[in-house]
């Protein structure tokens, strides 16, 4: 009880909402398992997409990884409001006194966690499948890029999935809205990964791309905070 009163109300609301999403996912295992499987299937298809069976695709490491993760993100983001909508949880949340921005933050945190779980599988797998050269030394740098990119994906994804929620053919609308906005993230994340993977160690490029991701996250955070109230203003 004393813990509850010591924390601001919004942090308890945020923690409760994130716990709700994670508990739901732990019980159903619908989203993350499908995302991981989808990512592995996409990586496998990528190999055949080049037309030649090549063991060394080191120079495409960043692109292979982030195109896969971008498509996987669309899948995960698309599922992020499904439970709320289908079981009318959203109606309850919207009439509750929880600020909209807390709803946004909770969804974004859940997406960051889902993406991180997918990346725990995808990032090593890219090294095993495609890279012939030093890869594992730079795994920490790649993880940092992944963290920054996840925040970007989560912020823009939460906004666009909110917009797509009440549209006709929302499964089609979300990728059309979300993927173009995600292209700069893919460019930067793939560029940063390429800059450090396979012993490249081009830290100037890496820093530039990471700063770009930070700028993207800040801009979309501002846009989300400014507009998210209006998304659910019914």
């Amino acid at each position: 009880m004393s813990t509850a009163t010591n924390h601001p109300r919004w942090t308890r609301q945020l923690a409760g909402l994130v716990r709700k999403d994670l508990r739901l996912e732990l019980r159903t295992k619908e989203t993350v398992v499908a995302m991981v499987l989808f990512a592995v299937i996409t990586l496998t298809i990528m190999q055949f997409g080049f037309g030649t069976r090549d063991d060394d695709l080191t120079r495409f490491t960043g692109g292979l990884m982030w195109v896969t993760l971008a498509f996987t993100a669309v899948l995960g983001v698309g599922r992020s409001y499904v439970a709320e909508r289908e079981q009318r949880v959203l109606d309850g949340l919207l009439v509750s006194p929880i600020p909209r921005v807390v709803l946004l933050a909770a969804k974004a945190i859940a997406i960051v966690i889902y993406m991180a779980i997918v990346e725990v599988v995808v990032i090593p797998l890219v090294g095993i499948f495609f890279v012939k050269g030093p890869y594992w030394d730079s795994i920490g740098w790649i993880a940092l890029v992944a963290l920054l990119a996840n925040v970007c994906i989560a912020l823009s994804g939460t906004l666009f999935s909110g917009l797509a929620l009440f549209t006709r053919a929302r499964d089609l609308i979300l990728p059309v809205l979300f993927l173009p906005a995600l292209v700069p993230v893919v460019i930067a994340a793939a560029g940063a990964t390429h800059a450090v993977a396979a012993g490249a160690n081009d830290m100037a490029d890496y820093r530039g791309y990471c700063l770009f991701l930070v700028a993207y996250a800040i801009l979309f955070l501002l846009v989300c905070v400014a507009t998210y109230d209006a998304v659910f203003d019914d």
């Binding site: 823009s156 917009l163 609308i173 700069p184 460019i187 930067a188 993207y216 507009t227």
Partner: protein, 240 residues
């Protein structure tokens, strides 16, 4: 319906027609002058030859498309504050024109790429590529508009116009992230990378494109207002 608008309509004057006419005349004059100036007066670039003249329009159109997206973003902000349908009209028309201008930027950029590098498309040129992304972002605006109903349409379109505009500086920043880019940068931190005799015609081209945008915006808004008035009349007739 606001009384002033009703009065003007009853007196036979179309609201906004005078502004549209003035901007139309300014645009016609400036476009003519800039076309003559760019092709007949401006000096030829020593390195690139005649193809460099496309830059007077290419860069001007690119800048005006950004103005159009900025107008849509501002209209989106005002719509979310006031919930007035006229801001939805402004935002929608601005994005339509911005998208049209952006497509022209990509086409003129592609023509320049063919002349300079021998290929219609160069993926190593981040500015051209990111402009393509901007086109895709704003093309999605219309998909969103067509898939939501009236009440939400205005709000969602406004939010998307704001979010879309956030991607514009990102696309321009991305050109300077990578070390290897090939696009000539006309305006750098130290000023314009062209002599005064070229700069003057660039400024005229820019003014011409800006006037053309404003004229088209005004004309299209007259159409939107007329459409709303007609809908109100139809509704009133149905109720009588």
């Amino acid at each position: 319906m606001p009384s002033s608008t009703t009065e003007k309509t009853r007196s036979g004057r179309v609201p906004g027609a005078r502004a549209a006419l003035i901007w139309g005349v300014i645009a016609a004059v400036l476009v003519t002058v800039s076309t003559i100036g760019v092709f007949l007066v401006a000096p030829e670039d020593a390195d690139q030859g005649v193809i460099q003249r496309i830059f007077y329009f290419h860069v001007a159109i690119a800048l005006v498309s950004l103005v159009a997206f900025a107008v849509a973003c501002v209209a989106g902000i005002f719509l979310l504050r006031t919930r007035s349908a006229r801001w939805d009209d402004v935002g929608d028309v601005a994005i339509r024109l911005g998208l049209l201008f952006s497509v022209l930027v990509v086409i003129t950029g592609s023509i320049w790429a063919k002349a300079s590098w021998g290929t219609w498309w160069v993926w190593s040129d981040p500015r051209l590529v990111t402009y393509l992304i901007v086109v895709l972002i704003y093309a999605a605006y219309f998909v969103l508009r067509s898939s939501v109903d009236d009440d939400r349409r205005m709000r969602y379109a406004a939010i998307y116009a704001i979010a879309g505009f956030a991607s514009v500086p990102l696309s321009f920043y991305s050109v300077r992230v990578a070390n290897s880019f090939v696009h000539p940068v006309v305006f750098t931190g130290s000023g314009a990378a062209m002599p005064g005799s070229m700069l003057i015609w660039f400024v005229v081209s820019l003014a011409a494109m800006l006037a053309l945008f404003i004229a088209l915006l005004e004309v299209e808004l007259i159409g939107r207002r007329a459409e709303r008035a007609l809908r109100r009349v139809a509704l009133a007739l149905e109720n009588t």
